[in-house]
Symmetry: C2
Subunit: 385 residues, 2 copies
Amino acid sequence: MGRLTGGDPSLLRRINSAVVLHALRGADCPTLTDLTRITGLSRPTVEGVIEGLIETGLVVESVAEEGGTRRQGRPARKFRFRAEAGHLLGVEIGSHRVAALLSGLDGRIIGAGSRDVSEAASEDERLERVRLVVADVLRRAGVARSSLRAVGVGSPGIVEADGTVRLGTALPGWTGLALGERLRRSFRCPVLVENDANAAAVAEHWKGAATDSDDIVFVLAGLSPGAGSLIGGRLHRGFGGAAGEIGALHLLGREVTPEKLLSTTDEPLHPLDEQAVADVFTLAKQGDFRAQAAVERFIQRLVHDVAALVLALDPELVVIGGWAAGLDGVLDPLRDELSRYCLRPPRVALSLLGEAAVATGALRLALDHVEEQLFAVERTVTARR
Amino acid sequence: MGRLTGGDPSLLRRINSAVVLHALRGADCPTLTDLTRITGLSRPTVEGVIEGLIETGLVVESVAEEGGTRRQGRPARKFRFRAEAGHLLGVEIGSHRVAALLSGLDGRIIGAGSRDVSEAASEDERLERVRLVVADVLRRAGVARSSLRAVGVGSPGIVEADGTVRLGTALPGWTGLALGERLRRSFRCPVLVENDANAAAVAEHWKGAATDSDDIVFVLAGLSPGAGSLIGGRLHRGFGGAAGEIGALHLLGREVTPEKLLSTTDEPLHPLDEQAVADVFTLAKQGDFRAQAAVERFIQRLVHDVAALVLALDPELVVIGGWAAGLDGVLDPLRDELSRYCLRPPRVALSLLGEAAVATGALRLALDHVEEQLFAVERTVTARR
């Protein structure tokens, strides 16, 4: 990192704080000498910054270890980043379930919970379910609500920058809902709302199947597929937040509806839910020809959706998530077909996070928000790609 | 722009040079006093920088105007950025024609030329045609080849970072060609090769139909469609340079080949070239039912391609270029269909640059390269989106 000399002294103090904080998080209980070496700052500067950070509660002097080698004289003071100084929530609000993950400021998960919810639930019922799950997770982890620094939320639909759901296809009742505003009544900290597939893409990049790539497409494969993409490691939301909303793609080819696509009779499959579809897949495995044909059509649809994304975006890696990822035999036909249609086929992998992907991504977005505050100055002076 | 004090003095000099150069390009023959005011630098600093820039040939003292108001005393010296201190070429190498645009360092076009070339021409013949066009343009403009600072080239196919064409569908003989390397033999300056649709997207953003948007998709609509996109004003090439290569999209729906699509008989249309297709469109206008059906199928295909791009990327604006843009009746059905399938339909416009788009974009890429050199320091210290 470049050093600035002169100029705004308070800016300089903030930069130095961020540098020391960053070093503290990366090292295991460093001493002042360690921090001086790592940061290149003078010892008095580091001492001043550390005192300030201790005052804010972000840093604490770590207790000297028993039986240390340094017996004589006063032991060197050691310091530790207090991940427990604040907490973050990642929340998924889906059509069938709501889930929450809790972490400290280091992003390490210390609590989790979920509850099923009916697809037909009203928005008030669904939000009440969220509050129950969150209260339960906080209580079991022994974390006070006032300790929350940010809450990330992943939910279906096109989400505006202010957290309003502009259009929800998976949850029609969600359309027009000021979801961010509603949730902010329950929390005193920032609430960040993101499209579910976008959140899941962030999650797989953070700690899932896409940790080694910055150019990925995540497909939330289900009856109404959505997708999220990272370009150069950054979430691509699109101009109006609708990037990856590929649910309407199949309409273009004048293809059949999902109900007809997955039917094993002359009638459309009804109700079209995950259980009904799983039954079709089971029948197919048992050798039922009509079920096998239905599965074939379903996979062909998925291939079509993914290929359109791949041709448009040219990612390095495609991650398949959502409940379809749990179905056998999705990946190989996808690879085969992509290699036929794409000039440069990407790698294809299954989600490693499974049904935790959306809440995990929501948590990461909350963590990003807090880190941007803690390290705001650093971000403005280091080069960004 | 932030000011740095202390630190590397040569870095500081380069920053100051870039600042003064930038001010010179934006002002009309400013005086030292003007430059001091615009840049906030001290007068001795500006004087020193100006002397250095005059030595490099980038700046010249402008001749005092006749009849100026300042008659008494020594007139204030005025300075001018020498756009003529270097030149740039933008070259299109297409399947049917090669074209070149020439500009000074300000990007103002001072020469243009083009020649037809057969689709069946060998790569040597095609490159020879390029050399002829370039030599002709330079000669007519009275510009020495040694004055060229950068050459941009737009051509079909997936183009690697080093200028090798990895896969060319419109020009099959182009596949595997080290196009950049071959062209670098003819020029002593950097040669930058880019996919044609990508170049055209850059051109429409620079001085075409997309000057008011940073999030655009440009569709080079033709028999083998390609697309280029800008995200936040920057070209999105994709991980492997293949983003927007949507030529294979139609295969996914198991649709018919272009030859069958555009046929007005029971036989495939052969040869399938622009003239043959234009004839079909003319027939359709004259009321031929089979031709009208063929045109309908063609437009439906285009709608399908564009919708897939729009759903994946969510741009603010779609610009339709390529020869299909010249056909009547493309835009309205496209708008209608997009509004049916896209959750948030983008604006749709026709290319304003027409057949000049690819060469214009190639020129802009060459200009970007030179400006990055001239203003390299500035770019590293100012905030980037």
